[in-house]
Amino acid sequence: MTPRIRRLAVPLLTASLLALGSAACGGGGGSDTVGTASKPEEKVKLTIGLFGDFGFKPLYEEYKKTHPNVEIVENVTQFNDHHNNLVKRLATNAGAGDVEAVEVGYISTFTAQPAKFQDLKQYGLDKRQSDYLDWKWQQGLSKQGGELLGLGTDVGGLAMCYRKDLFEKAGLPTDRTEVAALWPTWEQYIETGKKFAAADVAGAKFVDSPGEIFRAMVNQAPTGLYDAQDQIIVDSNPDVKKAWDLSNQLTSEKLTAKLAAFSPPWNTGFAKGSFATIICPAWMTGFIQEQAKDSSGKWDIATVPGGSGNSGGSHLMIPKQSKHPKEAAELIDFLTSKENQAKVFKEEGTFPSIPSLYDDPSIQNFTKPFFGDAPIGKIYSEAAKALKPQHLGPKEAEVRVVIGDGLGRVEQGKQTPDQAWAQVLEDVKKIK
């Protein structure tokens, strides 16, 4: 099939599927870039596609001061939609932004398609390599390693957030070092949960849901859902099974509030104090602050059980179809610069992927009143330094959905853990 026919075919096919399926979920608007190659003084409109708040807004204002000709439009969509739409827009060669954020769960999907993205080396961004954590840098390279496709924004070093007031009601310690001492391992975390449940604090469970805990436990293991050859090893990796069993133990001990992360009831759960602990990659602190506005000072942060790991974090990439790749590359360079990563961390909580910042006094001594003046700079620096990177496969996110559903079936009492596990393995086999 010739490319021209294909270019026509895919949108038409999309239309047909939507027509048959009564057309519910269309993609959002596309980018409105000016069609001509731009000179420096020419007006340039850059669209940037994100999922959730990256805390970039103040940076845009700052950028405009030095680049008055650049207008920046931010499109924010929900996590899954954002990445699914990006796949569609790359395939149809239309509608993608000039800069697109990609989360680690999806990064391998996109770095496997180097032809769809601009090689950032063309714009001299390989000079940034020395700034970065090596594994974070590697994740932004194409599968063959030849092209630089994405520049990292943040890393999601793990910690555990907990509600001091609920812990106090349950007769548990509230000081963060004492709390950390309660759970060096996940088994001890569950034991603590049982104590919390025994105290029967009205309206509160120990943890929101097992999904994110599972993800954290898998991320702490040397290998996760994929091996280095990009084969899914869910059925053979004992660490995955162990994480599965422990997550289901949370359910069987009735420690979860059955609130799936990022859903509206989960948001309500924050406001109502429905759960006492939540796994806290650095970026989660921003979420908590946003969702639980009234509970300033009630949250605190302790170290995570089971050693350090990474959960989440993103890269910024430029689709090949961008009309202004040069300007987009400059913007990426600016948004991911050392100073700006530090700024975004202080505002939004997303933790820098630039190790020279970790010992910087302004990060080390950074505290947040919302979290009871917890030294979040120090906590996440330690977490990021101790972090052992893990290889992520191309369908990481899809595998995670399948396992998340399995945990959900157990949580909702529809299946025993063994039945759910059998179905998970079946579903994983179907992933192409």
Binding site: P265, D405, K414
Partner: protein, 320 residues
């Protein structure tokens, strides 16, 4: 000189031709826009989807290998496809049957001389004007497990907190109420329009004969508006077979789905056929498989609509 008499019939002949052309061809020109649009956005995609369904076709790769009927074979053996079919039929019956009965009853009530008739008729249409997103988001809150109003009311009667989205039957009931909320009034208006064409004398005669209100509805109204009932049943059936927005948004806004909302809950308890197609095509990018599913879904719609037509045709027409 001699050209003049020749020219006249020539012109007349030409004008005659133009006239016949006008009469014969221009009607086609008038209907052409619809058919051109239909071909571009209806027929062509339909055929192209059939073509895609014969391939291993994913958005992530530019190579499309021909696999014949493989996708259909896999589909017929796919438990999740049959699960989606069951859910679609279950939600379809749960929403359509009460909806149509309710719509006829509402129309019957409004067909009598009431004060503020227009006000009532317009307000019937209001739920239909509301955006489906708003409807689902609000209903999802009403059906919330921990802080939902419905569970709160039920708790007065000693009913424990129901996790509406988690159960198969409960989620189907919840979704059906959303669909009924949006479409009952709309169908009632269509019935009302048909009822107004029923001659008053029939009701007057029936009243003199001592027929009750309900008997009049059953013996006069329903038989007289039979063609409209057939129409509404078929349109509602097709609509019910294509439900996607409600389950998709319900999954997202109740948070019952851990990962993607497109699977209709972790147990796929409320994944409809259209949502299944969406999941395969737009979250897994397996267009070949999704196209095969769309085609089977299309056939299913035709079959179910046909069966409904046969059933409703048997409702007695005219008056005995």
């Amino acid at each position: 000189m001699s050209s003049l008499p020749l020219a006249v019939p020539g012109r007349r002949r030409r004008r005659g031709m133009r006239h016949t052309l006008d009469v014969r061809v221009s009607p086609y020109a008038y209907v052409a826009p619809f058919f051109l649009l239909f071909c571009a956005f209806g027929l062509f995609p339909l055929i192209y989807t059939a073509w895609v369904s014969l391939h291993e076709w994913t958005l992530l790769s530019d190579e499309h290998t021909f696999v014949g009927m493989d996708n259909f074979g896999t589909l017929l053996a796919d438990g999740y496809f049959w699960n989606a079919t069951f859910n679609t039929l279950s939600i379809g019956v749960l929403s359509t049957v009460p909806q149509l009965v309710l719509a006829i009853w509402l129309a019957h009530l409004l067909n009598r001389g009431l004060r503020f008739q227009t006000l009532f008729r317009v307000s019937l249409l209001l739920p239909n004007v509301t955006s489906v997103v708003a409807v689902v988001v609000i209903f999802s809150q009403l059906y919330g497990r921990d802080f939902g109003m419905i569970n709160w009311v039920l708790s007065w009667f000693g009913v424990g907190a129901i996790d509406w989205a988690a159960g198969t039957a409960t989620s189907h009931v919840a979704l059906s109420t959303m669909i009924m909320w949006r479409w009952t009034g709309y169908n009632a208006l269509i019935f009302l329009a048909a009822m107004q064409a029923v001659p008053r004398e029939l009701y007057e005669a029936a009243t003199i004969d001592g027929a009750s209100n309900f008997t009049q509805l059953r013996k006069i109204t329903v038989p007289m508006i039979r063609p409209t009932i057939i129409f509404v049943v078929i349109v509602s059936t097709i609509g019910a077979m294509q439900i996607i927005a409600e389950p998709l948004l319900f999954g997202a806004s109740t948070g019952v789905a851990q990962g993607g909302a497109a699977n209709g809950g972790p147990d796929r308890q409320f994944q409809t056929l259209a949502l299944f197609v969406y999941e395969q095509g737009f979250t897994k990018f397996d267009f070949g498989y999704a196209s095969a599913a769309s085609w089977l879904m299309f056939l299913a719609v035709v079959v179910v609509a046909g069966i409904n037509y046969l059933i409703t045709r048997r409702v007695k027409g005219g008056l005995i």
